[in-house]
């Protein structure tokens, strides 16, 4: 994209170094903390010093934390799958169909990001209770789907807009029904976009604290973010080392998935929004 002139080389090296430091040093510090023995947590040495795997092993052998991790994976996977599916339907509908009220619904979807989520919490809690969903994964899944829906729908709509109508029309002439066109022609072409939305939804559910804490109180179904906070931010003490270790350990499976999927993610996130 750019010519490797001297100026560009300087820009490249300086940026790589500075932003690299900004991005990775705090992360390395977290790993560093996770590897220190508990009584050395606040000693300011950077890897060069006494290191131990005790914290990491402690987390891995802590059944409760592992349950939280499993729940987070279940809830995040399911909600991102559901959110992607629902967003895809809605986006396809917005992109390729015309009916009354379409624009109003589109606007409403966008607006749903415009209200402080803390305020919505009470009403959502009461509703989940009315439907006897409190404490189940469903209460979280439904909430998370909705919070991914606007971004998902808008991004995927751009994506579907990019698929030419003539392709769809020729399929119709061949006698394909709407369902067949959608599942066989349109959706497969949008897979990178869907993966990007899936990851977006995944991270949303992964990081949520307030909803998870309020809607699910049973430890066997609790997700990681509230689980960590409850375990390590106590009334009397905070265990930073364990908190850092747990965050690092928990992020490993997700990181592997991301590294594996990043190519789809990165191309998918944008090809929807950018049109020729």
């Amino acid at each position: 994209m750019f010519q490797k002139t001297l100026a560009f080389r300087i820009f490249f090296t300086v940026s790589l170094f500075l932003i690299g430091c900004f991005v990775f040093l705090p992360l390395l510090w977290m790993i560093n903390t996770a590897l220190k023995p508990a009584d050395k947590t606040f000693t300011l040495y950077f890897f060069a010093g006494e290191l131990t795997l005790d914290n990491i092993i402690g987390i891995l052998s802590d059944k409760t934390i592992m349950t939280y991790l499993r729940n987070s994976l279940i809830v995040s996977f399911l909600s991102s799958f559901m959110a992607t599916l629902v967003s895809s339907f809605a986006a396809y509908s917005f992109s390729k169909f015309r009916y009354r009220g379409r624009k109003a619904i589109m606007g409403a979807f966008m607006m749903s990001q415009a209200f402080p989520q803390a305020i919505l919490l009470l009403a959502i809690y009461l509703m989940m209770q009315r439907f006897h969903l409190l404490g189940s994964y469903w209460s979280l899944l439904i909430s998370y789907v909705v919070f991914t829906l606007p971004v998902g729908t808008w991004t995927l709509k751009g994506y579907f807009d990019g698929i030419s109508n003539s392709l769809i029309e020729s399929a119709k002439i061949d006698g394909a029904g709407n369902l067949r066109i959608m599942t066989r022609i349109v959706f497969p072409m949008a897979i990178p976009g869907m993966i990007s939305i899936a990851i977006y939804g995944f991270v949303w559910s992964w990081n949520d604290l307030l909803y998870a804490m309020t809607l699910v109180t049973d430890p066997s179904r609790r997700t990681l973010a509230p689980g960590l906070v409850m375990t390590y931010l106590g009334e009397a003490s905070t265990n930073w080392a364990a908190m850092m270790s747990a965050s690092i350990v928990a992020s490993i499976p997700v990181t592997i998935i991301f590294v594996f999927l990043q190519r789809y993610f990165i191309t998918g996130l944008t090809s929807g929004a950018v049109k020729e």
């Binding site: 010519q3 169909f97 209200f115 090809s271 929004a273 049109k275």
Partner: protein, 296 residues
């Protein structure tokens, strides 16, 4: 799209409506209904301490607007949203350009960069309050050992620097997200146009200015809007780092709403702040929708 004869199948309109129903259903249940009930709540003295409430008209609105700190909070929110969006955006763009060069480690670095984004927000808040801590902070330790300072600096204890620290922490969390979007954007800029510009003798800056930026205009718009909305909603990092202090320096609207509702138990008043905020955001959305309409 042209209409086709339907032979026992759903019409296009029916299909379109059918497809939007699942999304619409959860949307109505989880957003629209709570949203409307919150707006109604803003006209009551509803409190978390008591399930019964009375209608009080505009009393909450009067209270909110007569609070001498309310406009300061709005201003802090604007500062936070603008900088916590633009800084990671700029850094993310540069980082995307760097990682787009395809050197040996670039694919790996792209994946690992995303880790910041999946560490729980509370853990990030703790990490950065430790870095900036005025007593046992990592940054103070580093600066002291390098001989740059003799006495620890209380980064989080001063109003302006506390806000800067919170913005930096938030930027760190979100940089990967911007990087990912912008990297995709860079890769979608058509190569032939860049080559054509090169043949015309454009240098790097000119290529960037006249080919890359216009080619990414839409993706810029998308990430900036999504990023800004995300920052407006953002709560856990500033709450963990400063609880909105010192002397309200880092209190944004979302912190104010949280504190009013879940520390002071005044749901009605919190809903009022929320409604005012939604109206402010409506202006935002109108701009966004206009942009979308143009491209429709």
């Amino acid at each position: 799209m042209a209409k086709f004869k339907n032979n026992g199948r759903l019409t296009d309109t029916q299909t379109g409506v059918l497809l939007v129903i699942p999304g619409l259903a959860v949307f109505i249940a989880v957003i629209l209904y709570p949203f409307i009930s919150a707006i109604l709540m803003s006209f009551t003295d509803r409190s978390l301490l008591n399930p019964n409430s009375n209608v009080v008209g505009f009393e909450n609105y009067v209270k909110v607007f007569s609070d001498p700190y309310f406009f300061k909070t709005v201003w802090t929110t604007v500062v936070f949203v603008v900088f916590a969006t633009l800084i990671p955006f700029t850094l993310g763009l540069i980082w995307a350009i760097v990682l787009n060069q395809g050197f040996r480690l670039s694919e790996f670095l792209r994946g690992v960069t995303l880790v910041n984004w999946i560490i729980p927000g509370t853990a990030i808040g703790f990490l950065w309050s430790w870095i900036f801590n005025g007593q046992y902070g990592i940054l103070n330790g580093l600066l002291t050992s390098m001989g740059i300072i003799d006495e620890n600096i209380s980064f989080l204890g001063q109003p302006v620097s506390a806000l800067i620290c919170v913005i930096i922490a938030r930027s760190w969390q979100m940089l990967p997200w911007y990087m990912a979007f912008l990297l995709g954007g860079l890769q979608s800029v058509p190569q032939d146009r860049i080559e054509a510009a090169r043949i015309d003798g454009a240098n790097n800056l000119q290529t960037f200015r006249y080919i890359v930026i216009p080619g990414m205009r839409q993706i810029f718009f998308l990430v900036l809007i999504l990023g800004a909305i995300g920052n407006l909603q953002h709560f856990d990092i500033p709450w963990t780092m400063t609880e909105g202090g010192p002397a309200r320096a880092t209190t944004t609207l979302s912190i104010e709403v949280y504190r009013t509702a879940f520390k002071n138990w005044k749901l009605g008043q919190a809903a009022t702040v929320g409604t005012v905020w939604a109206i402010l955001l409506l202006l935002f959305s109108v701009v966004y929708l206009k942009q979308v309409k143009e491209s429709d």
